[in-house]
């Protein structure tokens, strides 16, 4: 391409971008970025060298058990805690020392954090009125927010007259009334009952998509995380164990912790004899993983729903049914193979205790986890498989 033509091409692109109102910065700059962030209380290292990037307009979830550091990350983002080392960036600017009220963020607390001396309306109007908004604008804003959370009929109610679910909605409306660019939610649904939680999961997702702002959601409930998120960070011991889309994390857990924490798993020790051949429970099985050292010790993950019970002659393994419990849409069966390994199986049909049956699975259901594999190596390995698949096609 000749230089002149190249220039003309670039100018055209530039014009196109400007006329469409695209902002290149939003595409390239994450709304929130952690660079090597750590937090310690004395010798107690709560967070260890966290790096993460959040894109604007997505639903992120920090998932992990109690004490994993997920709420700490949330409090660092909101400004209630300050980093021991590292930088937190908001739209490319370091905000380590920016006070909470100037961060364009708001928080929905687990215990709602509502003011019991005010009505629903006054609660939602609190932020806007502090900011000096006119009465008319406040009314419009509050009505809009209460409509969004479907509580417009409840404006004059006292907080104490509301149910837990309704209180949580008010808390969400109050946070959103401040027009945050990032909404932080600290286990907001954990105090609600199962059915209400399901309903609120759906509604939160809907609100996030309608407003198009970034949500950072903290939970210990893996089901909740899988159902709602665009992207999940799985945390343990102050370290991000794995991050990825819900599908990635469920299908390809990076290590024992993630496999165990997300969903039900059968985790066994095994040896990767060669590419595409793995050895466990004394037998060799075909699989779809490659790129490891010959005879490398690995861990095998098999999800209960990927396993099927069949006739003995069709089984890859032979197991004895030890226990079963009815779970509504399936039977959860505990079976024991001849090596004494315990297998969790989800089966549609009822079995007989002590019956010997065959256990079968497909090669692609076998997921291999290497010991101490870093997230980057893990990602690279997964990408290499995808490359191969593309090549095959």
């Amino acid at each position: 391409m000749q230089p002149v033509k190249l220039c003309a091409f670039l100018v055209t692109i530039d014009l196109l971008i400007k006329s469409e109102g695209w902002e290149l910065t939003n595409i390239s700059t994450p709304i929130i970025e952690f660079k090597n962030v750590g937090l310690s209380y004395g010798d107690d290292e709560v967070l260890k060298n966290i790096d993460l990037e959040l894109e604007a307009g997505k639903f992120y979830t920090l998932l992990g058990p109690s004490g994993s550091g997920k709420t700490t990350i949330l409090n660092l983002i909101s400004g209630q805690l300050t980093v021991t080392h590292g930088d937190i960036l908001f739209e490319g600017n370091i905000i380590n020392d920016v006070p909470v009220e100037k961060r364009h963020m708001n928080t929905v607390f687990q215990d709602y954090g509502l003011f019991p001396n005010m009505t629903v309306f006054e609660n939602v109007a609190f932020g806007p009125s502090i900011k000096g908004m006119s009465k008319k604008d406040i009314k419009t804003k509050v009505t809009e927010m209460l409509t969004l959370v479907k509580l417009n009929q409840y404006a004059d109610r006292e907080i104490t007259e509301l149910s837990g679910g309704q209180r949580q909605r008010v808390a969400i409306a109050r946070a959103l009334a401040n027009d945050p660019e990032v909404l932080l939610l600290d286990e907001p649904l954990s105090a609600l009952d199962y059915k209400l939680r399901k309903e609120m999961q759906y509604e939160l997702r809907e609100i996030q998509q309608r407003l198009g702002i970034t949500f950072v959601f903290v939970t210990h409930d893996q089901e909740e995380a899988l159902a709602m998120s665009d992207w999940i960070f799985v945390m343990n011991d102050g370290v991000i164990q794995q991050n990825g889309s819900p599908e990635d994390i469920y299908d390809e857990p990076i290590n024992h912790f993630v496999a165990d924490f997300i969903g039900e798993s059968n985790i066994l020790d095994g040896i990767m004899k060669t590419d595409y051949l793995v050895h466990f429970t004394g037998k060799d099985f075909e699989n779809v993983d490659a790129g490891m050292r010959p005879n490398e010790r690995v861990e095998i993950v098999l999800r209960p729903e990927d396993l099927d019970l069949t006739a003995i002659e069709n089984g890859k393994l032979i197991v004895t049914i030890a226990d079963q419990s009815f779970r509504g849409d399936y039977y959860e069966i505990t079976a024991i193979d001849d090596d004494g390994n315990e297998w969790q199986v989800q089966a549609t049909n009822k079995s007989k205790i002590d019956e010997r049956v065959g256990l079968t699975f497909d090669p692609e259901d076998i997921h291999i986890m290497r010991f101490n594999e870093s997230e980057n190596d893990f990602d690279a390995r997964l990408e290499s498989y995808e490359g191969e698949e593309d090549a095959e096609k």
Binding site: D111, G113, M118, K131, T160
Partner: protein, 453 residues
């Protein structure tokens, strides 16, 4: 078994008046001769008790009762005085009627008759019960069963009998007696047994509200209300501020400060007040220190100038009032969810706005019932005034009261110093009305606000 159950739930009785028209002759006789229905149905002991009660009441009525009633209306006709004794040939002092005792006996007679009417109703109810059981064809309970029920389903009657009797004679009787005095001329000119006093209707109330006593009553009432509001509000306000200061982040020795202030609660209030009384007296510690240090040349009139004395009282009362508020407020502050404060901070509220809009309203809400109590308590705060100033300095415009006297201390003076029992009683009734009306309105308002924390 089912029949019995049906009967026990049988709550809607026929009225006692209708019963008279419908019932059999034995039941009707019970209206005149108590216990006859019980006798006719072989409940002899029960019937006997009713009969004896009726006879004793009638006997009492005709020997003592009627006379007592008559005396209650006249409150005595013969005053104590000298009467000429023909046999001795000189005048001798003859005891007259004692109005006070006649009034008391009269009140007692009223109570006895009320009790009798109550027993008469029980007698009729018992007759009705028998009649109803017979209509349904159920076996009548024996005396043994009746007595057993007093330890079982009617246990409340057994348990309450003694306390109720005590309340009747030691609370209700004195109360009606005191109220009755407000309508008599029982004052320093009419002291029994020397003089008789009589019923005067609402004269005393008129005297207090628009008569001679109004010149004392209204200024004292005004000061009482000013004092109660000032004492309650100042203790609350400074107590809250103190609690906030001690609770603030970065204050060291929180426990030490709390303990120090609570210590003042551990010292009986009357001791503190007596010490203060000494300290602020004309030749007292404070004045001596002030003069010795050269700040003032003469004694400050802490208790001798009316206005100065009022301020002194309110300030000294803080000493006693603040720790209590501080203690409760500390509890509220420590219970307030941290989330609320954080949420408000994130919304951009500064510390003052958080206090004004969130913390303070919640403190007021929790404290409201206790503030009402404190207010009423201060209206009737006898200790502080009596021990600190004794009502002084004297005020020649007032009758029986000093410049700092509250209604309650004035009442005390009226009974113990000037012996105007009728006025004292009027004041007591007015204080009661004031406190009751205020409490009712205030509690109603508080419970209507609907917030539970």
């Amino acid at each position: 078994m089912f029949k019995k159950k049906k009967h026990s739930t049988h709550e809607e009785h026929i009225s006692l008046i209708k019963l008279f028209g419908q019932a059999d002759s034995v039941t009707k006789t019970s209206y005149l001769i108590m216990g006859s229905a019980n006798f006719a149905n072989k409940q002899f002991l029960k019937g006997l008790v009713f009969l004896i009660l009726e006879i004793s009441w009638l006997a009492w009525l005709f020997t003592v009762g009627l006379k007592a009633y008559h005396n209650m209306f006249t409150l005595g006709t013969h005053a104590q005085g000298l009467v000429y004794d023909k046999s001795l040939g000189i005048s001798i002092l003859q005891a007259g009627d004692n109005s006070m005792l006649l009034l008391l006996w009269g009140m007692l007679s009223v109570i006895i008759t009320v009790l009798f009417i109550w027993l008469y109703r029980i007698n009729l109810q018992s007759a009705r019960h028998i009649w109803e059981l017979k209509q349904e064809g159920v076996k009548l309970p024996t005396l043994r069963e009746d007595l057993a029920s007093l330890l079982d389903e009617k246990m409340h009657i057994t348990l309450m009998a003694v306390p109720m009797t005590g309340v009747l004679f030691f609370t209700i009787l004195p109360l009606i007696y005191m109220i009755a005095i407000a309508f008599t001329s029982y004052d320093h000119n009419h002291l029994p047994p020397k003089n008789l006093f009589e019923w005067v209707g609402l004269t005393n109330f008129g005297n207090v509200i628009s008569g001679q006593m109004a010149h004392t009553f209204f200024p004292v009432l005004a000061w009482t209300l000013i004092w109660a509001v000032a004492a309650t509000v100042s203790s609350f306000f400074f107590g809250v501020i103190l609690a906030m200061m001690i609770n603030a982040k970065g204050i060291k020795g929180k426990k030490f400060f709390r303990t120090i202030f609570i210590l003042t609660m551990a010292i009986p209030a009357f001791i503190s007040l007596l010490i203060m009384n000494n300290m602020f007296a004309d030749g007292g510690l404070v004045n001596t220190l002030l003069i010795n240090s050269g700040l003032t040349k003469t004694n400050l009139p802490f208790f001798t100038n009316p206005l100065f004395a009022k301020f002194t009282i309110i300030i000294v009362n803080l000493w006693i009032g603040i720790p209590a508020t501080m203690l409760v407020t500390t509890g509220i502050l420590q219970n307030q969810s941290e989330d609320q404060i954080e949420a408000a901070q994130i919304d951009g509220a500064n510390k003052f706005q958080i206090f004004k809009s969130i913390t303070f309203p919640q403190i007021v809400f929790v404290m409201a019932p206790s503030l009402i109590q404190q207010f009423i308590g201060n209206v009737n705060n006898f200790n502080v005034i009596y021990l600190l100033t004794g009502g002084g300095p004297a005020n020649s415009n007032y009758y029986g009261a000093g410049s700092t006297d509250l209604l309650i201390t004035w009442l005390y003076n009226l009974t113990l110093n000037t012996a105007d029992y009728n006025l004292a009683s009027v004041i007591g009734i007015l204080i009661f009305i004031l406190s009751a009306v205020f409490s009712l309105i205030a509690y109603k308002k508080v419970s209507n606000s609907g917030m539970e924390v």
